[in-house]
């Protein structure tokens, strides 16, 4: 039994210290996350706040974790805002930018090194200029995936206006190929996800559109006292999402807009979050779209490559009271260890966040209240979120990024110049169907009150636990380095195609340990809000000792098995290299 597990038992026996020092944290660990400082990472999001209350200002803040240079560690991509309104001069903003002009998205290269004691040393270098990134429209979110199968991860950046498909040219630079690839959308897109929905070996692209909004359509909205405030989503019409099918070999690098055939065009949405998984276990990837104050959509794929929105019957369109909520971020993961992906999504203040429990056949139940996630969320407006096992105990935990969109009365009364900030939250999965709020143990970074938006999860220092990129609106982005996870046993996997070039997003992995429940995970970079996650799979194994067996369900339906995989390190599994399973 590891020290961590031993301490848990000890603590339970004492029946104390449940708040001050919970049993699952080793005694020498005061904080779950430590904020990385002085690393060269200095991104500050500029929201273009003009005083006109343009709705886009308050919703922005996105970023990605991805290995752009294939050196084995995660680099950072941060999406930048622009000045909105008649004055194009950012200096005239209420909060002028803290980066030199012109404002562009930023790319930070991870120069991870190993210290003399074997400890990882994280340093980041701003390589924006070298990478060829240029100013573009006001940015929101980002999706990451190697759409052209050349072994280099590409990016799709969503914007207010034309989106940007950035092809990674493999030499440290990116080329804007949006138009030639046929993957543009000129509306207001926020979430996006790369997924091979037609299982042809080429990543397709889902783009979520938020509102039919342009600056020309800007409306003035007010509180009940007549004071001007940001509008809510009901002020504007929704817009249909787009599904771009990769033309694959037939036309390398090109996409075909199949939104109409697939079904999305007929059903406008107010998308802020999207996640793809096979929700009804029929072998076909589906999409779940989180909509702002409108019924959410669950696009179940049919064998002919079309999609049907089954959310209403599936029980995922609205909450347990039948109310459409203001959904923001969303993630899918098997939190209860029953082999299917459950959904967690974040909502506005005076609504609860919602956990939908999957029955394995694509039918869901709202389990928010019984899991203990309802009450703590009521007083927050929540955005980015992710299922990830921060303590590597084999159960998926949750982090939630918070920040208001309407003026917080208490802060305004106190004269706060930007009265939207809130504290973020961290919840630990107890493994018995309930979550405990461990925000107070999260570290000093959880004491900060900020206007947080995206979070992206990944192992930045390759030490076997999940770190977090936190992106704030009108504030500095932060890196939260996990200090507890690596103390438990872990298994790191990269699921690659036969050529060993591309992460096969959507692959499902069953990790078998003798005497323990099977753990199911999925390769993904989507989910959360406006973010892209580490595509590697990190499986916490608690106090398990020795190797493990892994069953891999590839997106094309092939099932393979690897036995006695080593723990405590990352292993690349190539499709076709395992033992084929019936």
């Amino acid at each position: 039994m590891s020290f961590t597990a031993h301490f848990r038992t000890f603590s339970c026996l004492l029946g104390m210290l449940s708040f001050a020092s919970p049993g699952w944290i080793a005694a020498d660990t005061a904080e779950i996350f430590e904020e990385l400082t002085g690393s060269g990472f200095d991104f500050v999001q500029f929201n273009g706040m003009s005083g006109q209350f343009y709705m886009a200002e308050i919703n922005s803040g996105g970023g990605a974790l991805f290995d752009y240079d294939n050196d084995g560690d995660l680099d950072l991509y941060l999406v930048q805002g622009q000045m909105l309104g008649a004055s194009q001069d950012p200096a005239k903003s209420k909060f002028p930018p803290r980066h030199p002009l012109p404002l562009t998205d930023r790319l930070y290269r991870n120069d991870l090194q190993v210290g003399p004691g074997g400890q990882p040393i994280l340093r980041f270098t701003d390589v924006t200029t070298k990478s060829g990134l240029v100013p573009a429209a006001y940015g929101f979110g980002v999706a990451a995936g190697d759409y052209d199968n050349d072994g280099w991860i590409d990016l799709y950046v969503t914007r207010l206006g034309s989106n940007t498909l950035l092809r990674n040219q493999g030499d440290g630079t990116f080329a804007d190929v949006t138009q030639t690839a046929g993957a543009d959308d000129t509306g207001w897109s926020v979430p996006a996800a790369f997924v091979d929905f037609d299982r042809d070996g080429w990543l397709d692209l889902y783009v979520g559109n938020y509102l039919d909004f342009t600056l020309a359509k800007h409306k003035i909205c007010r509180t009940a006292t007549g004071a001007q405030d940001y509008c809510g989503p009901t002020a504007y019409r929704g817009a249909p999402d787009r599904l771009f099918r990769n033309r694959g070999k037939a036309s390398p690098g090109g996409f075909q807009d199949v939104s109409a055939t697939a079904g999305m065009l007929r059903q406008p949405s107010k998308s802020l979050g999207v996640v793809s998984a096979d929700f009804n276990s029929d072998g076909l990837p589906d999409f779940y779209v989180a909509n702002d104050l409108a019924a959410n959509q669950m696009w179940m794929q049919t064998p002919d490559g079309r999609f049907r929105d089954e959310a209403l019957l599936a029980g995922t369109a609205v909450n347990a009271h039948g109310k459409a909520e203001a959904s923001m971020g969303v993630d899918a993961g098997d939190f209860d260890g029953d082999g299917d992906d459950d959904l967690f999504m974040t909502h506005l203040v005076r609504e609860t966040n919602t956990l939908f429990l999957n029955d394995g056949h694509g039918m869901f139940e709202d389990a928010t209240i019984e899991t203990g996630l309802g009450v703590p969320s009521w007083s927050h407006t929540s955005w980015g979120t992710a299922w990830f096992d921060f303590d590597n105990d084999g159960w998926l935990d949750l982090m939630i990024a918070n920040g208001a969109v309407k003026i917080i009365e208490e802060l305004a009364n106190a004269g706060d110049p930007y009265p939207f900030h809130e504290k973020n939250q961290l919840f630990r999965n107890r493994g018995d169907g309930k979550f405990e709020d461990v925000t107070r143990q999260g570290g000093k970074v959880f004491d900060r009150s900020e206007v947080s938006r995206a979070i992206a999860v990944g192992d930045l220092d390759n030490d076997g636990d999940s770190d977090v990129l936190l992106v704030n609106n009108n504030g500095p982005a932060r890196l939260l380095i996990n200090t507890v996870g690596q103390k438990s046993t872990w298994l790191g996997l990269r699921l690659l195609d036969r050529a060993g070039k591309r992460d096969l997003l959507g692959t499902r992995i069953a990790v078998h340990r003798q005497g323990h429940k099977t753990i199911w995970r999925r390769t993904r970079s989507d989910g959360s809000f406006a973010a892209a996650n580490d595509p590697r799979v990190l499986v916490g194994l608690g106090d398990h000792a020795g190797p493990v067996d892994v069953e891999v369900h590839w997106p094309n339906g092939l099932v393979e098995r690897w036995e006695k995989l080593p723990t405590g390190r990352y292993t690349a599994l190539h499709q076709g290299a395992g033992r084929s399973q019936p």
């Binding site: 409306k219 003035i220 006292t225 007549g226 004071a227 109409a260 039948g322 009450v375 009365e409």
Partner: protein, 654 residues
């Protein structure tokens, strides 16, 4: 934030503490320790700010009074709390109610309001405590029981919630809200059959409570009754389950009143006024269009009584007109727009809206007159010009409409709508090439995804009309690329492909149309014919049999199928006996020469040459001489075949 627990227990001590300042050098008054909540008023509308400041000032004065009683002061703080509550300043409302509760701990109202605010803020533990305290003082109050039940459900204390809802049911056996709560509790406790019974009862008691349908649908889903589940899920709506809540209603009424004042204040503020802003605000605070209309009508009466300024009144008439339009009441709207213009003739937007309402009411001349006035003063008002085009078109005054559209084209060269409207007009005037050019221009402009396929479709149709078939085909395909279910495009594309001899692609397109409209006969006939003409005989047989199974009484299918089975060039698909069966049925229904010919062909294929010869000879004998030389020739040729004991030729089929 303040919270307030167990007031009865601590009331004495707390009230004592509030008096503590007396005689200790503190400012005058009996309650110097009480702080009046002072939220930031700087960004508020003046009417709200003044109202709050006035109430705060009165309270300050009251506080200073030496003879003030705690209950009197509690009342005043409570009213301030209600005002904050109405303005949705919930922190300040909570603070005010909390003070009232401390000053007058035996008055359940302040505890209830405090709990309501805490409930809304998600402070469920304190809300539950305060609901319970309120209930202790005002036993069996159904509204408190129901709110408490809801809060208990939220914290997963369903057994206690059930008790509260059951109590309401005992007190008010026909309370829809009690059954609604019981249904929710049953659902949370996985007693879905019970949940169904309760939700069904809610709908009996309050049929318009559409919010219940979702929960009922989900409960049906969970007991496996999927049809009923779907039925109720489709009926899902937002109409809430109602219950009597006098205290809650007081705040709701106050909220409507304050909102109305702000709406009027906005309307009166010429610099800060926009129609959408006003409408949005009114709708969000009055709840619905009709509620807003009612409030504005009442407000208008008040203003008229108060002899308000013309400008002030005109704006209310204008907004009221807008709301009436929103409610589909154009005739009434016209009255208000006219009145607004009488009071303020310079209100151009009102004139445009008057024109719109007149047009919708079918008064096109009056609409044109209204737009004329706008254009006279604002020659570049694109909205008025575009609206005038519609009215002029409705009156058949196309040259005038065209003139306006041409002017608009210079004013708004990037407007796809103007291009499309002008192209339609040119098309109508048979100026097809000009129309084509305009549609092509539209495709270079920013066109929404919804509009794009229609532009491609119209363009394709025009190109087809002028004989530019290849381009027409491309445009139909472009339309279908964006909107693959655009049936007219599929139909026309199929027809055009057939027209240019591309039967194979035509068959595919018609096949797509069949899948899109399986209940339509024509696409099936078109697909089968195209399959036959492209030599896909086996596929044609399958499609025709499918069509016949779907439409067993449709004779054209029988005719084509019988001939196909009797005479297809591919021997493998021929089937004489089936052809005879179909041809006999056909002839029984339509004893025409064509049916007789089909029957003869079928007999021949079935090897029944005597029958074939009999029918063929009869047919030739009855043919009017020289009426159809081609037919006569074909019949004779086939007769020769039958006489030789050979079935019909492929040419005969085609």
């Amino acid at each position: 934030m303040n919270s307030y627990n167990r007031p009865l227990v601590f009331a004495f001590l707390i009230v004592g503490a509030l008096f503590a300042g007396v005689g200790s050098g503190q400012p005058a008054g009996r309650f110097p320790a009480l702080t009046i909540p002072r939220p930031d008023l700087s960004a508020m509308e003046a009417t709200a700010r003044e109202k709050i400041e006035s109430m705060q000032a009165s309270l300050e004065t009251l506080k200073q009074r030496e003879d003030i009683q705690p209950t009197e002061l509690a009342e005043a703080f409570g009213h301030l709390g209600q005002l904050f509550h109405a303005y949705r300043l919930l922190d300040s409302a909570e603070e005010s109610y909390s003070i009232s509760g401390r000053l007058s701990p035996e008055d359940y109202r302040w505890l209830y309001y405090l709990a309501l605010v805490q409930h809304a803020e998600g402070e469920l533990a304190t809300a539950i405590t305060n609901y319970e305290s309120a209930l202790a003082q005002h036993a069996d109050d159904p509204a408190i029981l129901l709110r408490l039940g809801d809060a208990l459900v939220e914290v997963d204390r369903t057994a206690e919630a059930r008790q509260r809802f059951e109590r309401v049911r005992e007190l008010e056996p026909d309370s829809a809200a009690a059954y609604y709560g019981l249904g929710k509790v049953a659902g949370f406790d996985n007693e879905f059959q019970t949940a169904v019974a309760h939700f069904e009862r809610v709908l009996e008691l309050q049929p318009d409570a559409s919010v219940v349908h979702y929960l009922l649908g989900q409960a049906y889903r969970k007991i496996g009754e999927l049809d009923k589940a779907r039925e109720h899920l489709q009926k899902r709506g937002q109409e809430e389950v109602l219950f009597t809540d006098p205290l809650g209603d007081q705040v709701a009424r106050l909220a409507k009143g304050t909102a109305f004042e702000i709406v009027l204040a906005l309307a009166e503020s010429a610099d800060d006024y926009s129609d959408e802003e006003f409408l949005g605000f009114a709708l969000s605070h009055f709840g619905d269009v009709r509620g807003s209309i009612k409030q504005l009508e009442q407000g208008l009466n008040l203003k008229q009584d108060a002899d308000a300024s013309a400008d002030e009144q005109s704006r209310i008439h204008y907004v009221l007109g807008g709301l009436l339009v929103n409610d589909g009441r154009d005739t009434e709207a016209i009255v208000h727009f006219k009145r607004a213009l009488e009071l303020a003739p310079e209100l151009t937007d009102a004139r445009v809206k008057l024109g719109n309402a007149q047009a919708r009411a079918g008064n096109y001349e009056a609409a044109v007159t209204a737009y004329d006035s706008v254009v006279a003063s604002q020659p570049q008002n694109a909205t008025a010009l575009l609206k005038r085009v519609s009215a002029l078109m409705a009156l058949g005054r196309e040259p005038a409409a065209r003139k306006d559209l041409e002017k608009l084209l210079t004013l708004s060269p990037e407007s796809s709508e103007v291009h499309v409207r002008l192209a339609s007009l040119l098309e109508k005037n048979n100026e097809l090439e000009s129309a084509i050019n305009l549609y092509l221009k539209v495709l270079d402009l920013e066109v929404s995804l919804q509009e794009k396929p229609l532009v491609h479709y119209r363009l394709a149709t025009l190109l087809r009309q002028v004989g530019r078939f290849d381009q027409a085909i491309e445009q139909y395909k472009a339309a279908l690329e964006v909107e693959p279910t655009l049936a007219p495009a599929l139909n026309n594309l199929g027809g055009l492909l057939a027209q240019v001899g591309n039967m194979s692609d035509a068959a595919k397109v018609f096949g797509a149309l069949v899948r899109l409209a399986p209940e339509q006969l024509q696409p099936r006939l078109a697909e089968s014919t195209a399959l036959i003409l492209s030599g896909q005989y086996a596929a044609a047989t399958t499609r025709l049999e499918e069509a016949l199974a779907k439409f067993p009484d449709e004779l054209p299918i029988k005719d084509i199928l019988a001939r196909h089975l009797a005479a297809a060039p591919d021997q493998a698909v021929r089937n004489g006996s089936r052809a005879v069966e179909l041809a006999l049925d056909l002839f029984d229904n339509v004893p025409s020469p064509e049916s007789a010919e089909t029957l003869a062909m079928a007999y021949a294929e079935a090897g029944r040459f005597e029958d074939a010869l009999k029918w063929q000879r009869q047919l030739i004998a009855e043919l009017v001489p020289d009426s159809d030389p081609e037919l006569a020739k074909r019949l004779a040729a086939n007769l020769t075949l039958y006489e030789r004991g050979e079935p019909c030729c492929a040419e005969a089929e085609n």
